[in-house]
């Protein structure tokens, strides 16, 4: 049975659209929402309520819809909880109910009526507050029931985009007020953006018979939109929900791109909007009247019924009861009559306003001083009971109940930015105080429900803002003359709820009843914020757009206070749910974070390297041969450096060039040690502290020229060290003439480590004399290697003789390949970061960030010899504090497991007595731990309280998984403590 009217509406009857609902094929038209298309097919019953499993129907017309939250689409692009009232119908759409198991019609859980017993009011509080363990018991029962739809079963296949937008005047809302404001700014030269939540412009005009300049409103709409489209200074954003208004005129909005262009490559666009002036014309939402059994399918707000008929040409019922406490619902009664329905008006007031009365023919049944006090019907309303003040009850059949309890301005975007609200007695609701500088709410959002006032407000605020922004006058806009307007919510008499038997729902989405609010008050809650949380009122996707003000009114009645004494709840973003995908935009998968690869990356891939992430870098961790696990590969790589030559891609090391006459002064101030006597061509290890005296980075710096240095930092510390030195130079030492340049990516670095490293480098060909006499340990030479300019450094992180060869990044891959080819004769073996870590651990070298954590001083590391007595440096004064001088501070030690095969877990605690009862005093902890192939046994590094004086003592490493492992404290350096191998 179709409920579509033969004429009228702004749908396109020439474009039928096929869709399915719960598998049933149906048809709608272009211009329909999913909700209007369902109603056109006489489908009201779309879901069951989450807790009580009661049949529910489409109730609202926009973001306030509490019931018609549907699952749309399949697989990875499926969307849960889509408000059918806001989803534009598209060809082939597949929509399903979310609650209802095994099916909507035959719900097993409603038959058992489990829901209400399981979840009384305050359920979440009572459950989570204890007794302990209750949640686990409930969860098994609740999970299958309390579904709010299905999540996608794969990565989102759609594309999203993020855009910044700066404008002079931002207008939110494309109804008459917003359109008039925008039109008044045409030609001002101001950059104006007008966003509208719906696909179609016009707002309330689309459901109205109002005439503008003696014509249907459509004519004015078309003319105005044509002018706005033509205006160079106006940007229109239809299908765009402004979801949040933040500090300083910053707004977030989501544009549903495919509503306007179905084949657009991106689904949604996230706009970050900054404006000088903000005009809010977000409209208002009609609120129902709460009454017993007010949740049956076929019960809608009066305006939803009116819009259904006027905009979508759908008659949602043939036998209607309109129940109201104000004048606005009379227009609904009139259009129901005109569409051929039978109508009875039940009005709680003694009489309606003149304009309202004039809407209806004389013979229409209007019952004053009356309230609908109950309803009947199962999956569709079948009748109502009307109680008059004289005590008489009348029972009447109906298939539609239209409710109007007044209108709530959509104040959210004003409230988000801490705008104040004030109570409007005539409307019995909150309106914005318009107290935010540069922000103005107008139209229905400001409580102005007649189009003439809305148009005037739009035009006036536009002119005011244009003048403030110093713009030229816009094109002269004459406002249209308004006639045949429907009455607004005038002569309203507050009526929050009708007493009686049967559940009266305040918040449909969470099944919160008026009696639940009573219970919350009985249990002692008074603040509306507490009542709201206790009863989960307004916690659904609708965020109380229907229920919050009604809840406030009911609380006020119950405790006999004016609503303003109770206060309103704080409205926070988002106005409507926002797709995570849109917020993330394209920054996902490979684009989530930049990936940095060294020039030789492809070689490592070809060699079957296993990679690890070090910051943004991809570094080869080890190169397993067939049949090797990580331990075997790492052991082989380590031993190669001892016997032949190991080859490491060291390109990721941070490199900062320091130029200028005061370069040396900078080094003296940021490093703990002396730099005055470092000769050109020489290198020195440096330790960098923060002002608190804690180690923040270490590395080798080489002197390249008189006023030219090259500082190496740790891979992860490169950016931090550069920023750190820049900050000091710019903020504290502007008198120093020093220039810092990051050259990390400009050079590719290959480290050759091992007794055969010199021979290998010679075989490749270099004009640098590699003899120890000409090129001693801790020096740097420039020259040519394999015919390309190179910087070669003799430093060692492995304990073996090493040559670190840096060449321009573009040459590095070729040099690497050459090294590996020529290296075959020398047993050259590529080694990764894992072997590098093991080798340096055997030498007792720290890795900043692994062994240190920002609370380790050079004294703790036993590096007091690195601190120059001759000069000050950053952090030095802090080392003099008594706390840092304590002899029992954690100190850097080696740890040798008594079982040489037992590798301690990194992070394990060190204790004295494994049998002690908790709490056990901690003696220290493990920071690095490996099987050390060059030593032939397991070995670890870590910190022990006063550890330097405790070499030889025994402790126990304790770890939840590994258990207790006895260890001996040793000095940190285990491999070649005299350093002969690296100096060779």
């Amino acid at each position: 049975m179709t409920c579509r009217l033969n004429q009228g509406g702004v749908i396109d009857r020439s474009k039928p659209l096929n869709f399915t609902f719960n598998g049933k094929p149906l048809t709608g038209y272009a211009g329909d929402t999913l909700a209007s298309a369902l109603l056109a097919n006489n489908i009201h019953f779309v879901t069951r309520s989450i807790k009580l499993r009661r049949p529910r129907g489409i109730m609202g017309r926009g973001p306030e819809e509490p019931n018609a939250l549907l699952q749309i689409g399949e697989g990875p692009s499926t969307l849960a909880d889509q408000r059918a009232t806001q989803v534009m119908l598209t060809e082939g759409m597949n929509a399903r109910s979310i609650n209802g198991w095994p099916s909507l019609e035959h719900d097993l859980l409603s038959a058992l009526s489990l829901g209400s017993k399981l979840m009384p009011v305050g359920f979440y509080y009572k459950t989570f507050m204890g007794p302990k363990g209750w949640w686990e018991r409930y969860e098994k029962l609740i999970r299958p029931i309390a579904g709010m739809g299905l999540t996608p079963d794969g990565p989102d296949p759609d594309l999203y985009e993020k855009r910044d937008l700066h404008c002079d005047v931002m207008i939110v809302g494309g109804g008459p007020a917003g359109l008039a404001a925008a039109a008044s700014l045409i030609g001002t030269g101001l950059r104006v953006v007008l966003a509208h939540e719906q696909a179609l412009w016009g707002g309330g005009l689309l459901a109205s018979r109002t005439q503008l300049n003696g014509q249907p409103a459509n004519a004015w709409l078309e003319e105005t939109l044509a002018a706005l489209h033509a205006a160079e200074n106006i940007q229109l954003l239809p299908s765009t929900s402004v979801f949040g208004h933040y500090d300083h005129h910053f707004l977030g909005a989501i544009e549903r791109v495919r509503e306007q262009r179905p084949n657009a490559p991106i689904r949604e666009r996230f706009w970050k909007i900054r404006c000088q002036r903000l005009i809010l014309a977000a409209g208002a939402i009609e609120r129902p009247i709460v009454l017993p059994n007010n949740d049956r399918p076929g019960i809608m707000t009066a305006f939803a019924v009116r819009e259904s008929i006027e905009r979508y040409a759908v008659l949602p019922g043939k036998q209607a009861v309109v129940f109201t406490n104000n004048d606005s619902a009379y227009a609904t009664a009139r259009c129901l009559l005109d569409a051929g329905a039978q109508v009875t008006v039940v009005d709680s007031r003694a009489s309606a306003g003149t304009a309202a009365k004039a809407m209806l023919p004389e013979q229409t049944t209007v019952i004053y001083n009356a309230k609908v006090c109950d309803t009947t019907g199962k999956k569709r309303i079948s009748g109502v009971t009307v109680r008059q003040t004289d005590g008489t009850f009348t029972r009447m059949d109906c298939d539609l109940l239209a409710l109007s309890g007044g209108w709530n301005p959509s104040v959210h975007l004003h409230s988000h930015a801490s705008g104040k609200l004030q109570w409007d007695e005539a409307l019995a609701t909150f309106v914005p105080q318009n107290d935010l500088a540069g922000v103005r709410a107008i139209g229905a959002m400001a409580g102005a429900f007649d189009f003439a006032t809305a148009l005037t407000q739009g035009s006036e605020v536009a002119r005011e803002f244009a003048t403030e922004l110093g713009s030229k006058a816009g094109t002269d806009l004459s406002l249209p003359e308004v006639s045949h307007a429907e009455p607004g919510p005038s002569q309203l008499q507050p009526l929050w709820r009708v007493a009686g038997k049967g559940p009266a729902f305040v918040d449909m989405q969470n099944d919160v009843k008026a009696t639940d609010i009573e219970l919350a008050l009985r249990e002692g809650y008074r603040s509306i914020e507490h009542v709201k949380r206790y009863g989960i009122l307004g916690f659904g996707t609708d965020q109380g757009k229907f229920g919050n003000i009604i809840g406030l009114g009911i609380v006020g009645e119950l405790i006999n206070k004016h609503p303003t004494e109770i206060g309103t709840t704080t409205y926070r973003p988002a106005w409507t749910p926002v797709t995570f995908g849109a917020l993330v935009g394209p920054d996902t998968g490979e684009l989530f974070e930049p990936i940095r690869q060294t020039p030789m990356h492809e070689w490592h891939v070809q060699a079957g390297a296993v990679f690890e992430d070090v910051g943004q870098w991809k570094r080869a961790r080890y190169y397993p041969k067939a049949g090797e696990d990580m331990d075997a590969a790492v052991a082989r790589e380590c031993l190669a450096t001892q016997k032949g030559v190991g080859v490491l891609d060291y390109s990721t090391l941070g490199k900062i060039e320091i130029h200028g006459p005061d370069a040396i002064t900078l080094l003296e101030r940021v490093y703990t040690n002396n730099w005055q006597k470092l000769g050109i061509g020489r290198c020195r290890y440096g330790l960098m502290l923060d002002e608190n005296g804690m180690v923040m980075d270490d590395g080798v710096t080489a002197r390249l020229g008189e006023q030219h240095y090259l500082m190496y930092t740790s891979t992860g510390g490169a950016a931090r060290v550069l920023s750190w030195m820049e900050q000091w130079l710019q903020t504290e030492w502007p008198d120093l003439e020093v220039y810092l340049t990051s050259v990390t990516d400009a050079w590719g670095t290959i480290s050759l480590a091992g007794p055969k490293s010199r021979e290998l480098l010679e075989s490749i060909g270099t004009d640098i004399n590699l003899s120890t006499e000409q090129f001693p340990f801790m020096s740097l030479r420039t020259g040519a290697v394999n015919g390309v300019p190179a910087r070669v450094q003799r430093v060692s992180f492995s304990g073996e003789m090493s040559f670190e060869v840096s060449v321009p990044a573009n040459e590095a891959a070729e040099l690497w390949a050459m090294v590996m080819r020529k290296g075959e004769a020398f047993g050259a073996t590529p080694y990764g970061t894992e072997a590098m870590h093991v080798l340096r651990a055997e030498k007792g070298f720290i890795i900043v960030g692994q062994d240190t954590d920002g609370s380790i001083s050079p004294l703790d590391l036993g590096m007091e010899g690195m601190i120059s007595a001759r000069k000050d440096c950053l952090g030095k004064r802090s080392l003099m504090r008594s706390e840092l001088q304590r002899p029992d501070r954690p100190q850097w030690v080696g740890l040798r497991p008594k079982d040489p095969t037992k590798v301690l877990p990194e992070g394990a605690q060190l204790i004295e007595d494994p049998a002690a009862k908790p709490p056990v005093a901690m003696q220290g902890w493990v920071t690095s731990s490996y099987f050390a192939p060059r030593l032939g046994h397991a070995f670890a590094l870590g910190f022990v309280n006063g550890g330097r004086a405790r070499h030889g003592e025994s402790l126990y490493a304790w770890d939840a998984d590994a258990g207790v492992i006895p260890v001996e404290i040793t000095q940190p350096v285990q491999y070649d403590p005299e350093g002969g191998r690296q100096r060779d």
Binding site: H248, F250, R277, S418, L436, A437, T568, E726, Q727, Q730
Partner: protein, 105 residues
């Protein structure tokens, strides 16, 4: 009411924090900047001459006012220059930015 209203908060529209005016580049998105704490904290010229309390004062003690506050900011994802800004700690409004080496008034 459900929340406290700060009547003393200055809300002049043209001073904001979500846009910060770099003295060299002009107004830019706040996300391009990093914060560097209170401005005008001078590093002592001879730290070793200070007792622990005086050193701790330099190291840790900050004015932390409710109101206008002179701060250091860096246009980290832009010109990388440090500058000073006067920011309101309640409204987050920034009413002035100026180069490091200029006087604050």
């Amino acid at each position: 009411m459900g929340r406290l209203w700060m009547n003393t908060v200055p809300q002049r529209w043209h001073i904001d924090m979500l846009m910060i005016t770099c003295p060299w580049c002009g107004p830019r998105d706040e996300s391009e900047f990093t914060y560097g704490g209170e401005a005008n904290i001078e590093r002592p010229t001879d730290p070793e001459a200070l007792d622990d309390a005086a050193w701790a004062d330099y190291l840790f003690m900050r004015s932390n006012p409710k109101g206008w506050h002179e701060e250091q900011w860096c246009h980290a994802h832009g010109c990388r220059r440090w500058f000073k800004a006067e920011r309101h700690t309640v409204s987050y409004a920034i009413r002035r930015t100026w180069p490091m080496d200029e006087e604050s008034s």
